[in-house]
């Protein structure tokens, strides 16, 4: 397989340079852009497999770029946000970004997010998703945890199915509500918190310390492969 093509967009030349060098070292083919306009032009010209996008650009914001990109490409977008830009971050995620890392970030974190985003983007027709000991059969609408059958209400199943189709991806409150409950429910996030806590009671070994269904405060939820617990 040829190297994945990554477009990095940031107006700080030193950040751009460090990311370009490191991502090349990690085996990716890297293109760069310093403005929103350049970003869209490069994305169109290079057809990248994934885009790393700074939220604050001199000629616009990352959210608008994200929305524009989403109108013609499915390539995953990871936004670079900063503390204090939570609102912009959620807006970008709602506009179609797949994930985010918070500045300043370590390279390992960025690479992990990037790998996960690229993996999700691969076409996979498997109707059965396995995450840790959790097995979700999207076709038969059946869920088992460690082989044991779990009974879910239709909304609970739809919620879990949405998260399972996007393993590791951060889904915003708005995105989940729209997808599971319909467009009219985009702002009723208290619904969601209730369903998530019901779902956790059924799928989490310890609902008070979730390991599958993680909360991203102020942003949304993601379903992840549980990391082996150190103390147990």
């Amino acid at each position: 397989m040829s190297a994945a093509r990554i477009l990095v967009v940031d107006d700080e030349p030193q950040i751009l340079r460090a990311l370009r060098t490191n991502l090349r070292g990690a085996g990716y083919e890297v293109f760069t852009a310093a403005t929103a306009e350049e970003a869209l032009a490069e994305a169109a010209a290079r057809q990248p497999d994934a885009i790393i996008l700074d939220l604050v650009l001199p000629d616009g914001n990352g959210t608008d770029v994200c929305r524009e990109l989403r109108s013609w490409t499915a390539a995953p977008v990871i936004v670079l946000s900063a503390v204090g830009e939570e609102k912009e971050k959620v807006e970008a995620l709602d506009a179609g970004a797949d994930d985010y890392v918070t500045k300043p970030f370590g390279l390992d974190e960025l690479l992990a997010r990037l790998r996960a985003a690229l993996r999700r983007a691969e076409p996979g027709g498997d109707p059965v998703v396995e995450i840790g000991e959790l097995r979700v059969d999207l076709e038969k609408r059946a869920v088992t945890l460690a082989g044991r059958r779990i009974q879910l209400t239709p909304h609970e199943f739809d919620l879990l199915a949405l998260l399972a189709r996007n393993p590791g991806k951060l889904l915003t409150h708005t995105a989940i509500l729209r997808e599971v409950w319909g467009p009219a429910y985009g702002r009723e996030s208290h619904y969601l918190h209730v369903y998530v806590s019901q779902l956790r009671r059924k799928i989490e070994p310890d609902p008070t310390r979730p390991r599958y269904l993680l909360t991203e405060p102020g942003a949304g939820y993601r379903l992840v492969e549980p990391t082996p617990s150190i103390e147990s």
Binding site: D11, E12, Q14, I15, R17, A18, L19, T21, N22, R24, G25, A26, G27, V56, P58, D59, L80, A82, V83, G84, K103, P104, F105, G106, L107, D108, L110
Partner: protein, 468 residues
């Protein structure tokens, strides 16, 4: 005013002595007039002249002196004019009646005069109080701060209270010397205090009538001042909060960008799974170096700014040639930076802190270079104008909107719109701060293409020793 108001009461011994002498004078005058007139007019009719003598005494000194004066008149009339003269005995019974009538008339007239006088005085006093309250109300309603008005009000209140000195304080009066203070209050609320000289006690009726009215006026004014102050404070707080939030955001952005580059570069170098060539490694190391320098520059800038804002940047002044200062600043730029310097020969020297003015010029130069399009020259010129040396640094950058010409000197402002100012956003604010600390000014001007930032420094007087 005070004198007249007090004539109703004999209050001191000296005044009493004057009153007694004057009364004796009036009685003697009337006696003399009767002695002259008795040749033509029946003596019993002339007794009425004594009434005229008692009347002014009653008006001026009250009944205290008017009654003894009336008795003195009767005795004098009897002694000098009624037979047998030079005795206090009367031969004619009807003369007794005349004397009695005169005494009664004198005393009743006196009493009436005193009452009329007292009413007039009270009316005058009330009118003065009302006039004062009205004028205080007017000046306070005009919105003048109470503090500025208190001294003027105090002086006029002293007049109304018939004391030589009065001081009003809100919420309390300053204790100076031996003054007697009393509270100015309405109901339970104490508005302030008034201090008056102790040897001049306040007329209790004036005090109970006038002071509460004054207190309620002052209370309204004090409340209004308080509200105004609170509104101003709230506004100031809101503004300073907004400024702080903006600065915090800008600082966090400016700190985070170099940190992000350093973190990304360092974690790349530390990651054994990456295949990095020597050149790649050198590049990452360079990034760490460049960005560390940027961070340290930002910290220096922040310290400079806080020193400037705290007024702690005391300039070490010396005489300098402007071209030396420009050269010092030019040296801080990269050697290949496109800067062209053209200064006239006859510039007067300036007396400034060279390090601080170097920072001013370097920050302005750096900014100009940053906004310049690639290959464009930044021009440095200077001229002596109106006792100042004005150094102008011109760029061909995107220019600054007319409305932003001042804003760019605020901390963490970058030019708005499409032009990207990279760097700390503190440079021009610091330049202005140091320029002002050295008695100079910095401002921006729009050019047909680009921006000129000007630094004006006061030209120094040529040293007298240069003539030697």
């Amino acid at each position: 005013m005070t004198e007249r108001g007090r004539r109703l009461h004999v209050t001191s011994w000296s005044e009493l002595a004057v009153g007694i002498l004057a009364s004796a004078g009036f009685v003697a005058l009337a006696t003399a007039a009767i002695a002259v007139l008795k040749a033509w007019i029946p003596i019993l009719s002339l007794g009425a002249l004594y009434v005229l003598a008692v009347l002014p005494i009653a008006v001026l000194w009250g009944l205290t002196l008017a009654i003894p004066a009336a008795v003195a008149c009767v005795l004098a009339f009897n002694w000098f004019f009624l037979p047998p003269t030079h005795t206090f005995t009367l031969s004619d019974g009807e003369n007794w009646l005349a004397l009695a009538v005169y005494v009664v008339v004198a005393i009743v007239t006196s009493e009436l005069a005193v009452r009329a006088r007292r009413r007039a005085t009270v009316a005058e006093q009330r009118e003065r109080e009302a006039a004062l309250l009205a004028s205080v109300a007017t000046s306070l309603l005009r919105g003048e701060p109470l503090g500025n008005e208190l001294d003027r009000i105090s002086d006029r209140v002293a007049g109304v209270l018939h004391v030589s000195h009065a001081r009003i304080g809100i919420p309390d009066v300053e204790q100076v010397g031996e003054l007697v203070t009393r509270e100015l209050s309405i109901g339970d609320r104490t508005v302030g205090a008034i201090a008056t000289a102790p040897e001049q006690p306040l007329d209790p009726s004036v005090a109970t009538r006038f002071l509460p009215a004054l207190a309620s006026l002052l209370a309204v004014a004090a409340d209004r001042d308080e509200l105004q102050r609170e509104a101003l404070e709230a506004e100031a707080l809101r503004r300073s909060d907004a400024v702080k939030t903006a600065i915090l955001r800008a600082v966090s952005h400016d700190l985070r960008s170099p940190l992000t580059a350093i973190h990304a570069a360092a974690s790349g170098l530390a990651n054994p799974e990456l295949s990095l060539g020597d050149e790649d490694r050198a590049e990452l190391v360079e990034t760490i170096g460049v960005e560390s320098a940027r961070l340290s520059r930002l910290v220096t800038d922040l310290l400079d700014l806080s020193r400037l804002q705290a007024g702690a940047a005391e300039p070490q002044r010396a005489l300098w040639a402007v071209e030396d200062l420009v050269a010092l600043a030019r040296d801080e730029m990269p050697a290949d930076a496109p800067v062209s310097v053209g200064l006239p020969d006859n510039l007067p020297p300036v007396e400034v802190d060279a390090a601080q003015v170097r920072r001013v010029l370097a920050n302005v130069l750096e900014n100009a270079l940053r906004v310049s399009p690639p290959g464009a020259l930044v021009r440095v010129g200077a001229a002596a104008e109106h006792g100042e040396v004005v150094v102008r640094i011109e760029d061909e950058g995107p220019g600054i909107a007319a409305t932003d010409l001042e804003r760019v000197f605020e901390p963490f402002q970058r030019g708005s719109g499409a032009d990207t100012y990279r760097g700390t956003g503190l440079g021009l604010a610091i330049a202005r701060g140091f320029a002002e600390a050295n008695g100079g000014r910095v401002w921006a001007e729009r050019l047909t293409e680009g921006t000129a930032v000007a630094l004006a420094l006061p030209a120094a007087e040529p040293e007298s020793e240069s003539a030697e």
